[in-house]
Subunit: 262 residues, 2 copies
């Protein structure tokens, strides 16, 4: 991997300086990457409850004090306003703009929530010898809205969003075992094999990411996805909030092993 040996801190410095502008997949191997939701203090307690009630799509790995852009528990010198390659600014439940710097949007009442990301469990899957087809194709993982409801907290409600990777059945079983050890980054899959039973009508038409064909003899396996908060923010019609742009994550100083059990 070209980024072998890169630390989370080094990855963030590249991003902050504008020297890395794309997806963060493959940066700082072994370090945890995180989904971002920045919520005004008025709704922040409800969002915290939403995460606690829905730990599979929203595994909370850290949050800031209101108005504070630092996250010392997640990494040295983090500035959440500049350290992701791309942000979405939302108004009234719709994407108002995408930007690489949210300093001008910052307010004293904003709370940053960081949620575990499936990038962190892909490394152990690859180390176990499993094949990830979206890596082979050089595309994003396909992501779908489902008919699985999240548990509501205040204004936050909506469908669970899932990512899909397909495997031969014996490898799917290995993938369940491996990701079960990592509840901090979505944990075990939420579904396997029968997409129509969770409201996915056409695997070839993902709601986010890129389509990735499922080869004959393989089963689609679905993990709860950190894009769920974006579907929820949309459903809530929140007046104002900020998220990461999908696949453009905060790279932290946490080791993947720090979020693993067993």
């Amino acid at each position: 991997m070209t980024n072998a040996g890169q630390s989370g801190y080094e990855a963030r410095q590249l991003i902050r300086a504008g020297r890395h502008t794309g997806q963060t997949s493959g940066m700082a191997p072994g370090f945890v990457q995180a989904n971002l939701a920045i919520i005004p203090a008025a709704q922040a307690n409800d969002f915290l409850r939403f995460c606690v009630l829905n730990p599979k799509p929203c595994p909370l790995i850290g949050h800031s004090e209101p108005g504070d852009w630092r996250l010392p528990a997640l990494g040295r010198d983090i500035d959440i306003r500049t350290d992701l390659p791309s942000y979405r600014v939302w108004r009234d439940g719709k994407i108002a703009t995408e930007t690489d710097d949210i300093t001008s949007y910052w307010r004293d009442d904003l709370v940053a929530f960081l949620l575990g990301c499936s990038f962190s469990f892909e490394a152990p899957l690859l180390e176990a010898g499993l094949t990830l087809h979206h890596h082979e194709l050089g595309t994003d993982v396909p992501v779908y809205r489902t008919s699985i409801p999240t548990a509501q907290a205040g204004p936050f409600h909506g469908p669970m969003v899932v990512s899909m990777r397909s495997f031969k059945p014996a490898d799917a079983i290995r993938a369940v075992q491996i990701t079960s050890r990592m509840p901090g980054v979505h944990g075990a899959p939420v579904h396997i094999g029968l997409p129509e039973s969770i409201g996915i009508q056409d695997l070839d038409r993902p709601d986010y990411g890129s389509p990735v064909p499922v080869p004959a003899g393989e089963l689609p396996v679905f993990w709860a996805c950190g894009i769920t908060p974006q579907a929820v923010v949309e459903a809530a019609g929140l007046e104002f909030c900020i998220t990461h742009t999908p696949a453009h994550m905060l790279v932290t100083d946490l080791r993947i092993a720090d979020l693993s059990v067993l």
Copy 2:
């Protein structure tokens, strides 16, 4: 459960006395039940190697000294000649007879091998709230020969035999997690979802046990099965050996927790 509180020792005493003559499913809840293969000393080392090479179908939990019918490590006062409700005596790879007492067949060169049994992992599945359809129907679990080869050791070779239980997908994922903790009783499933890819053409026609329909919205999940040695004995054409009759097990004094990890 009507046998609640029954110990392994109590179950064996009932069987030895001829007061329990049927299957052992449901006896002595919480105690490990075991598959039996009694092999002449001339082939016993090869059979031991076969078990070591194939731990998923043949998880070895104990074996006797040649000619010794006792198994003190597995239970108080076990007499392997009388303590199972039904045995199969094999000659030249074929079942010669079934009997409830093999004392008259015993020889000084026989070695008893005891292998973990899926009955032991059904209790934790039920405790987790999962439904086992063959229990609802009051039948045996369906068991199939597959196209998955075992690793050969001396004369011992042949297809892996698997048992099938179907679940809704989320419950199938739970079943993988729960049985992964129990490598001593077959461990995680070997297959899920696509029976034809392991050589099973028709789920309604099991090779052993009873057919159990797979409801719409469920996936068939397959575990390596302790009947594998019987298929292997048949393929080897062994001059003489003795096994249990399927579903008629040795009930041991081991607790299921003794064979669990994590």
